[in-house]
Point group: none
Chain length 214, copies 4
DNA sequence: CTTTAATCGAGACGGTACGTCCCGTCTTCAG
DNA sequence: CTGAAGACGGGACGTACCGTCTCGATTAAAG
């Protein structure tokens, strides 16, 4: 698990007393993912997670502030897997990113959890930050890496202006992530290689022109 | 409001007995939106909605199977407002659709509710269908209308093949709706005219090429 | 069924329109007794009775004011059976009365209903009158008949004073009915011939004699 | 309050966890009696009792299986008050017991509740046992004490046979308790000193004597 | 070796909302 | 006007979880 799991990263922990069980943390997060898959977000209860993890409710509340925080942490672990192998061209890299996202969204635990915590986050500022740090930024990293690689290859021009560059990256990221999520969860249609290819085609031809006119 | 909204689309209702109050339906949906705005999705209670609507809880449960179904119907009504005024060009029409959609997502009652019900729908097949029929298809209509109009103007070629045309429309729809939702709710950044312009530029140049190569 | 079934005995019934179904009355009372036996007083609902009788709830509420009134009427019919055959002596007649009561209290529908409506009647004056008229007085009749018969036989002296006579009859009635009910329902022990014999002995000869003979 | 009153008589309770609050028990039973007085048995609500006792509904359901069980326990406490002061003679002792019992039945909380739970018990075996243990046996104690005292005084002979003795005590108890209950609740007439005197006379000397003296 | 202090499990606590059941009334249509 | 059907506003039900709070029992580092 990543650092900063507890809401206050490490709350002044003056020494003395029995230390917290590290095994409990792992058991809880694993149990959270299991319960999430089995009964879904809205019916997931902290009591059920505690029971499943073989842990007392108290232990759970001592570490997380609530359901959303717990689920974010439980799901965030899965995003550590994300990587972008060099496939040799910008188009192939975009298809790779798309398929990576799709793979993650195909898992039942991410599928359910992601939209739910995003929904919660619309009325919960700290949660929004937590999601951004744990999940969103980890995805965006791939987009940025892809651009850098394309620039190194000469497929894209170097950015003269840092602000505009960031703004464009944000746009691209929203388009890619948004389209994949919408296709997978709202339209509920498969994000397969065929779709990835057609999407990349659409994005790439647009992107080239946009880059030229900007 | 559209006919056949209730969970079973009016299940063979053989006559006899007092008919259901149409006023109650309207009051409940309006109350649902009010309560959504005031206390949000996760704290929304069917009891609170009933009280607000001046209606017994029973009446509510007689018509809807649960919170998600009710909220889908309540929010769906808002999507009837969406229109696509002719702004003279494909680019302007796309910008218009993006801004209209963004306006809708900016409303407090849609913001949280939409993601939440989508999250629920990942583990609830009937709910997924309901969302598709009540909300998604209502938006897709705009994309189709925009294309027809652009074809009439000569901005886009006529579709030779119905299946490919539908597939492209789906892709475009996922890109537009996905990007706007992601920008507005996940990135939590404003979808303003500036963003709409840049997004449309990206999409259009891609679309032209895609159309040419297809 | 006896007269005065409706709470207001016959409410001015201005003619014209469809007359009430007499069959419905019988069906309802029979259904009441059935339901009473099957699910007990506290879980008996008027809706269930109506369904069982093949009658609408409306029909039921048009005729009776509530659960208690209905059950009193349904059970009262059973008390019409009560008779006191001449067994030749006061002792034998008392045993006869005791066994008649016991027989009635042995039926599941009377057993359950009697205590329940009496309980209700402690806070419901009109119900108390209804019970008195429909049930209690019908039992007391037997006691009075037994005394008259004993006086005719010369086993008991004629009453010189009407008031004292009534007072004594009330006392005897409370003792007999009370003892049988208490034995049958509170102590939940069988009221058989053996018990009836011992009770009659006690009543006739008194405790002093009983102590002497034991 | 007597030990082991709860539904399962303290079911092997292996330690661990927060212990049950003894104060809650007392508050609930007291609240039950108050609510009984104020709104009566049939309208008594476990929710209302909980509120009145300043206790969560859960706490109440954790300890009692239902309304009947709770009321039996609440009323049973009142029967602990019953005593049999030595009034010098068997007759005086019987009159004392009758009047004490009548006093208890005159209380609004006992009046309705007692008949109601007995009515329930006709279709509820465990409840019948609970009533027997908590209420009936508590009264029977007085009859046994009265007999012993009378035997000590020489008013009654010693019992040669234990079984017959118990059988006679049961009979006497049914007669006394039954008569008082029937007079007070069914006939709904006052159980005053005059009635107690006449009842005792009848019980002691028997109907034959009563007929002779009148 | 103790002490000390925070942990652990267990489970009761005051609450809130649930979804169901029944109440007694009302509204419609059919005879 | 009656009767079946069934929706209506209302209220209580008994259950499930919430997040908090005692408990006695570990458990390890500090004294």
């Amino acid at each position: 698990m990543v650092a900063g799991m507890q809401s206050p990263p490490t709350p002044a922990h003056r020494p003395g007393g029995r230390p917290r069980s590290a095994a409990a943390d792992a058991a809880i997060l694993e149990a959270t993912r299991q319960v999430l898959v089995e009964i879904g977000w809205s019916k997931l209860t902290l009591g059920a997670v505690a029971t499943r993890a073989g842990v007392a409710k108290t232990t759970l509340y001592r570490r997380w502030a609530g359901k959303s925080e717990l689920v974010v942490d439980a799901v965030a672990e899965l995003f550590d897997e994300l990587e972008l192998p060099d496939r040799g061209s910008l188009a192939a890299d975009i298809e790779g990113v798309v398929l990576q996202f799709a793979l993650l969204l195909g898992r039942p635990e991410t599928k359910t959890a992601l939209m739910a915590v995003v929904a919660e986050s619309t009325t919960d500022e700290p949660l929004r930050h937590r999601i951004r740090a744990s999940i969103v930024d980890r995805q965006k990293r791939l987009v940025l890496a892809g651009r850098e690689r394309a620039q190194a290859r000469g497929e894209l021009p170097a950015e003269p202006d840092g602000v505009a560059a960031a703004r464009t990256a944000d746009l691209i990221f929203d388009v890619i992530a948004g389209a994949v999520v919408h296709r997978a969860l709202v339209s509920a249609e498969p994000v397969d290689e065929e779709w990835a290819r057609r999407f990349t085609l659409l994005l790439l031809d647009g992107l080239a022109a946009a880059a030229a006119t900007q």
